[in-house]
């Protein structure tokens, strides 16, 4: 993950304004992180509305805690950690007291051609991912998808680096097994790129 700390004077000024309690400045500041936080939250919660609700909570928490943000980690790492813990809290509350809400993302997901249609079933990937424990899903998103190294993911998840590595390894094994069998390619190589 690239360093997400503010680089420009404008960004620094925005951070300072947000730190002093300006909601609009804070909203502007977190907009650049929203997409990647949304990916994590959606894959953890599996529901578009719950994702929105959780991210609202994340940003309110972050806004209130921002004056105490010391900058020891990047702002992106800090926000990602809040997102992870907030989503885990949402999952725990949901599991304790009410049935899981119906997953109904189909009519809310982006429409149009699916680039993975000619590979494997997107539904199979999604279903396999949803069967993973949330801790493993988080590692898949952070390390596998977003490219964080083990140390960065460990800081976000609050576990040792070795735990991150083992979670990713286990998640990969489960996903592969669920899809086509251990270590089998997902599709036959059809593209020139794949044969290079």
């Amino acid at each position: 993950m690239r360093d997400a700390r503010p680089q420009s004077e404008l960004e620094q000024a925005t951070l300072e304004a947000a730190r002093s309690g300006d909601p609009k400045a804070f909203t502007t500041l977190v907009e650049r992180y929203d997409a990647r936080l949304r990916v994590l939250a959606f894959h953890l919660l599996g529901d578009p509305h719950a994702t929105d609700d959780a991210l609202q909570d994340v940003y309110v928490k972050a806004f209130r805690a921002l004056p105490g943000f010391a900058g020891r980690s990047s702002l992106g790492t800090w926000l990602t950690r809040i997102t992870y813990t907030t989503c885990i809290d949402h999952l725990r509350r949901r599991a304790r007291l009410v049935p899981m809400p119906d997953l109904e993302p189909d009519d809310l997901l982006p429409q149009g051609p699916d680039p993975t249609d000619d590979l494997s079933s997107r539904g199979s990937v999604r279903d396999a991912l949803r069967r993973l424990p949330p801790e493993q899903r988080a590692v898949v998103v952070l390390v596998g998808v977003q490219g964080l190294d083990y140390e960065q993911a460990a800081e976000i998840l609050g576990v040792p680096s070795g735990t991150v590595a083992s979670r990713l390894s286990n998640a990969r094994r489960i996903l592969r097994t669920a899809l086509r069998g251990d270590d089998a390619p997902l599709v036959a190589a059809t593209s020139e790129e794949g044969s290079s």
Partner: protein
């Protein structure tokens, strides 16, 4: 196929798998996501919790003191609404009293609280407009309300602030000076217009402050107060020097309830409630009342048109992502299955408003093990149609939804622990005719909640609720049929 791994066996190098995961679509945020967030952040900046229930900077949320008070009262909100209904009713009563001879102490003895409630209901059903000053926990609000569902509030403690609701249109507008803080730290005005408000319970807006019935004179206030009155005992008293009756209702025991009795005072000349008090162990815990009441005065429609100061930046948002207010004819054909609607209604009720949504979730509050409260949701409902019927200031709703449930006895109206019907307040009845013929329904007339009935048939949950007695609930339930496109014309 090329092996893209950096190091053999390193799971990070399975780019094929991770790219496939990365290609899974992720839904975009709701259209109003940023607006909702900015509103919540503004509340947090003002010292509030930033929770959804304080998102709309209104008279109870614009200042930290008010926000704190709103949070304290969160768990009593429906009951407090009932108080306001009573206050409204009081206003009507006072006006009527001013126009008629007051037969002090010459009334025949009142046999029962139910009789008082029936008389109050008759009075509320005949009023066209109400002007009054409401006093709630020391805060004063000037109120103007009409029987067609529009309300204007002005707040004595916040000059120039106003709030307008339109129940039929499902909109709430407001202006609060100096309510939010700018980037330079200075306070700025806050102007908003929200649409898409549900017609009422059991559906609620995503933020409590967006609920239409959080303003005065909506359906549930009267229902709550009259429900309480129907359970009570009657004593004679005076209110501001006028003959009055006080109905004291002791609620069914509830561990969660912040009060154990409700006291409603009714002007005896006009049959309108003028004061409501909530008590616990004999001590008043909350109180609302009306003064300076005038009834049926002509109203200029212009006062209900939002008028923002020049240059005001109006925040336009939706109270919920989905609710739309449409005609009854449109509601009949909005979904594959027509919603149920009554063929029979109590006297004077007419079709008033219809609203639909593709999906919604019922929300409720639970008590946690540590004694706190937390928010929970039912599973999603689909194809929801809410039909409102109105007579004067009385309203009831019939709502149809596709709803999966493992517990048909779960009360959709028990949004707070203390509002669940208990003991004799709850009964199982069998609907005798109409679309629900033969179906077992749950009928609740709780002391602290709106009278209501719910039943499941063929995967659909049907609720009836509002200013109705037990017998009227049954009348409506026994006459339900699919809504026709000619209805409400």
């Amino acid at each position: 196929m090329t092996d893209l791994r950096r190091t053999p066996g390193d799971p990070r190098d399975d780019r094929e798998l991770w790219d496939l995961v990365a290609s899974l679509p992720v839904p975009k945020p709701a259209q109003d996501f940023r607006q909702r967030l900015e509103t919540r952040l503004a509340a947090a900046a003002l010292g509030g919790s930033g929770r959804a229930d304080v998102a709309l900077p209104g008279p109870r949320t614009a200042l930290p003191r008010r926000a704190e008070r709103a949070r304290r009262r969160r768990h009593r909100v429906v009951a407090v609404f009932a108080v306001m209904a009573a206050v409204a009713a009081i206003a009507v009563a006072v006006v009527l009293a001013g126009r008629h001879t007051v037969h002090e102490l010459q009334h025949p003895a009142i046999a029962s609280a139910a009789e008082v409630a029936a008389n109050v209901k008759t009075a509320l059903g005949g009023v066209e407009t109400i002007r009054a000053t409401a006093v709630r926990s020391g805060e004063r609000m000037e109120i103007l309300a009409t029987a067609d569902g529009r309300t204007l509030l002005r707040f004595v403690s916040v000059p120039k602030a106003w709030a307008i609701t339109d129940l039929a249109a499902g909109t709430k507008s407001g202006f609060w000076p100096n309510a939010v803080r700018s980037s330079t730290g200075e306070r700025e005005d806050y102007a908003s217009k929200a649409s898409g408000c549900p017609l009422g319970m059991p559906d609620r807006s995503e933020q409590d402050s967006d609920d239409i019935d959080s303003h005065l004179f909506a359906a549930w206030f009267q229902g709550n107060v009259m429900s309480a009155m129907a359970h009570g005992t009657v004593t004679e008293t005076t209110y501001e020097g006028r003959p009055a009756l006080t109905v004291i209702t002791t609620a069914e025991p509830s561990f969660d309830s912040p009060f154990d009795a409700v006291e409603v005072t009714v002007d005896r000349a006009a049959w309108f409630p003028v004061q409501v008090r909530y008590l616990r162990h004999g001590k008043v815990r909350d109180e609302e009342r009306l003064t300076d009441l005038r009834l049926n005065e002509p109203v200029d429609d212009e006062v209900f048109k939002p008028s923002y100061p020049p240059g005001a930046e109006v925040v336009t948002r939706r109270a919920t992502p989905y609710w739309r207010h449409i005609s009854f004819a449109e509601a009949a054909q909005a979904f594959a299955e027509s919603p149920l609607a009554p063929r029979m209604v109590p006297p004077a009720f007419v079709p008033f408003a219809a609203a639909i949504t593709d999906r919604a979730r019922l929300r409720f509050i639970v008590t946690t093990a540590k004694g706190g409260h937390d928010e929970r949701y039912w599973s999603w409902s689909h194809d929801i149609t809410s039909l409102a019927y109105r007579a004067g200031f009385l309203t009831f709703l019939v709502t149809t939804r596709r709803q999966a449930t493992d517990d048909p006895l779960a009360d959709p109206f028990a949004t707070l622990p203390e509002l669940a019907a208990r003991g004799k307040e709850l009964e199982t009845v069998t609907v005798e005719s109409g679309a629900l013929a033969g179906v077992e329904a749950q009928l609740a007339t709780p002391a602290l909640n709106t009278p209501h009935l719910w039943a499941y048939k063929d995967g659909r949950l049907i609720t009836i609720s509002g200013d109705l007695t037990r017998d009227q609930l049954l009348l409506v339930a026994n006459s339900l049929d699919p809504l026709s496109a000619e209805a409400g014309q």
